[in-house]
Symmetry: C2
Subunit: 311 residues, 2 copies
C-alpha cells in the first residue's frame, strides 16, 4: 500500500463512490494517516445520514455559504463525486472559497465533458492545474452511502486523465490517494478514456437497451419474451440499469459514442451481408475471432495477438 496522508478531505456527494473512498482511506491507511473528512451534499438529510454511518466527520449543506467556506478552508483535497452534469455548477459554487493549494479531482464516468466543465468553471491556468480528472471503474450495481465499503477499490482500475496544466506533483498526490485504497492506477488522455468507455461500457448498454426496445415493439412481444432464455438473460442484464444514469452518460459522451455506434453498425452490416449471402466461412471466421478474444479476455490473457490479426 502506498503511503498517503491528508489533513482535510472534502467530498461533494457522499454516496457509494465518495463514501467508499472515505472508508478505504480511514480503514486501510491506518490510524494517524488520515485527517478530517467533510461531506457536502445538496440535501441535509443525505449528508447527515453519511455522518450517522461514520463515513464523514462533519456534514455540510451545499447551500450554506458560511459552512461551505469553513469546510474548504485549509482543505488539501476536494473530491467531486456528484453526477457528471453537476460538475460545472458545483465547481462554480465552490470556486470563491477554494484555497489555491487545494487539489481537486472527480469520479465522473466521462472525461471530455468534465474537462470542459472544469475549464469553464475554474478559468485560469493555475486553478485548472489543481484539478485532476479521474474515473474509478467499479462496475457499481448499488448506490448511496449505505452501500459504501472500504474494499470497493481493491484491484479496480482507476484512470486519471491529467491536464497539460497539472503540475506532476499534483497528479502524483491524487494517484497516491487512489493507490492507498488498493486500486490499480492508469493514465490516459480524456479522449482515449471516453473512446475506451464508449466501446466497452456505453455502447453495450445502448445495444442491450435497444434489443429489449425492439422486442417490445413487436406485435408478438409477449410470446417472444416468454421464450427468452439464458443468452437473452445475460445479454440484457445491463438493460435493467438506471435509465437516468445511462441517459446522462450517453449524452455526456456523445461524440465518442456516436463514433462507436457507427463502427458497430458497419460490423453488423457486414454480418448481415454474410447472413444474406449464406457466407458461412466469413461468419464462422468472425465468430471464431470473437470467441477466441472473449475467452482470452475472460482468462485475463493477452488479446493483443487476436486484435492484430483482425486489422
Amino acid at each position: 500500500m502506498a503511503a498517503f496522508s491528508f489533513n482535510k478531505l472534502v467530498i461533494f456527494g457522499v454516496g457509494l463512490i465518495g463514501g467508499s473512498l472515505a472508508r478505504a482511506l480511514r480503514e486501510r491507511a491506518g490510524a494517524g494517516a488520515t485527517g478530517e473528512v467533510v461531506g457536502v451534499g445538496r440535501s441535509i438529510k443525505s449528508v447527515e445520514h453519511a455522518l450517522e454511518l461514520g463515513l464523514i466527520d462533519s456534514a455540510v449543506f451545499l447551500d450554506d455559504d458560511r459552512a461551505l467556506e469553513l469546510a474548504l478552508r485549509d482543505a488539501d483535497f476536494v473530491l467531486v463525486a456528484a453526477p457528471v452534469a453537476q460538475t460545472e455548477p458545483l465547481l462554480r459554487r465552490i470556486v470563491p472559497f477554494l484555497d489555491a493549494r487545494t487539489i481537486l479531482t472527480d469520479v465522473g464516468s466521462t472525461k471530455n465533458d468534465v474537462v470542459a466543465a472544469a475549464r469553464a468553471a475554474l478559468g485560469d491556468r493555475d486553478r485548472v492545474g489543481q484539478f485532476v480528472p479521474g474515473h474509478p471503474i467499479t462496475g457499481r450495481e448499488s448506490s448511496g452511502p449505505d452501500a459504501a465499503i472500504p474494499d470497493l477499490y481493491i484491484d479496480r482500475n482507476v484512470v486519471l486523465c491529467p491536464l497539460p496544466e497539472n503540475p506532476p506533483e499534483v497528479v502524483e498526490r491524487v494517484a497516491a490517494m487512489w493507490l492507498a485504497t488498493g486500486a490499480s492506477m492508469h493514465r490516459m488522455t480524456a479522449e482515449q478514456h471516453d473512446s475506451v468507455l464508449a466501446s466497452v461500457s456505453h455502447l453495450p448498454h445502448v445495444l442491450s437497451f435497444a434489443l429489449v426496445e425492439m422486442i417490445l415493439q413487436a406485435p408478438d412481444a409477449a410470446l417472444k419474451f416468454s421464450f427468452a432464455a439464458g443468452g437473452f438473460r445475460d445479454f440484457t442484464r445491463i438493460a435493467a440499469s438506471s435509465p437516468e444514469m445511462w441517459r446522462d452518460a450517453c449524452i455526456a459522451n456523445r461524440a465518442a459514442l456516436l463514433t462507436e455506434i457507427d463502427a458497430y453498425i458497419n460490423v453488423l452490416a457486414r454480418f448481415r451481408q454474410a447472413i444474406e449471402t449464406s457466407d458461412g466461412a466469413a461468419l464462422e471466421a468472425a465468430f471464431e475471432r470473437s470467441r477466441t478474444a472473449r475467452t482470452e479476455w475472460q482468462h485475463g490473457g493477452a488479446i493483443k495477438a487476436a486484435a492484430e490479426s483482425a486489422q
Copy 2:
C-alpha cells in the same frame, strides 16, 4: 407426469439432447413404461460411448445398412438429434427402411428449414404427416453424451410446430413423450418459432459477436479490452459460443434473422439520433421501458402491458 410408453425409440445423434431424452424417459417414466432405445451415430466411437454410459440399449453405425434396417424395424419413434444441416440427408438415408407407422420428430433450433428438409426427403403426404418438427429450448452450455442428464427438460419449454399433414394423434404422441420428461409444451407455426428464436436467441448472439469483432478492429483494442468490466462480461458471454453452431443457426434461420437485424438497426438508428441531438427525454423513456420490461421478465411477470405501451 403424463403417461407415456413406447416399444422402440431410435435416436439419431446420442449427445446431450438425445442422451438426456433417453435418460429422462427411462428414469422418470418408471420400470415397464419404456422399451428399447437404439442409438445411431455417424461414428462407431460416439454411439459406443453412449452405450457404455447406459444411455442406449444398442449402438448402430449410420453407414451400416443392415443394422440400420433392423434398428428401424418396428420402431415407434425416431428422434433426429443431429445438427440441423444434416436433417435432409439423414432423412433420405433412413426413408427406405422406415415403417409407415413410425413417428418422427427432431430437436433443431430452427424449424422452417427442417420443415423444408422433411418435405424434400419424405416426399408424399402420408410420410411427411408422420414427422412432427420440434425444438426443446434448453439453453445448453455443454454437449456430448457425457453431459446427458435425466433432468435436462424439467420445466424447460419444448415447442412443437405441427404440419398441416400431421394427424392430431401423431402430434399428441410426440407431446406425450416430451411431457414425460417434465417439459412444458407449446405449439406454434414454424414461422412463429423462427421469428421468436431470431429475436431472443439468434440476434443477441450476432450482436454479441459483433461487439467483440468491432473492438478487435480498433487500433487500441488491447487497451479497450483491458478496461472492459462487468457490463461487457455479461453482454459478451454468448460471444464465447460455438462459431460453427451459430454460423449454422444464422444461415438456417436467415430469413427471420434478417428481418430482426433490420428491425434492430432501425431502433439503434433511433437511439443514435436521440444521442446526436441530446434528446435526453427520448433516451430516458426508451431506457425506462426496457428496464421495466427486463425487470418484469426476470421476475416472470407479465410484460404484455409494457409491450402494448410501446406499440
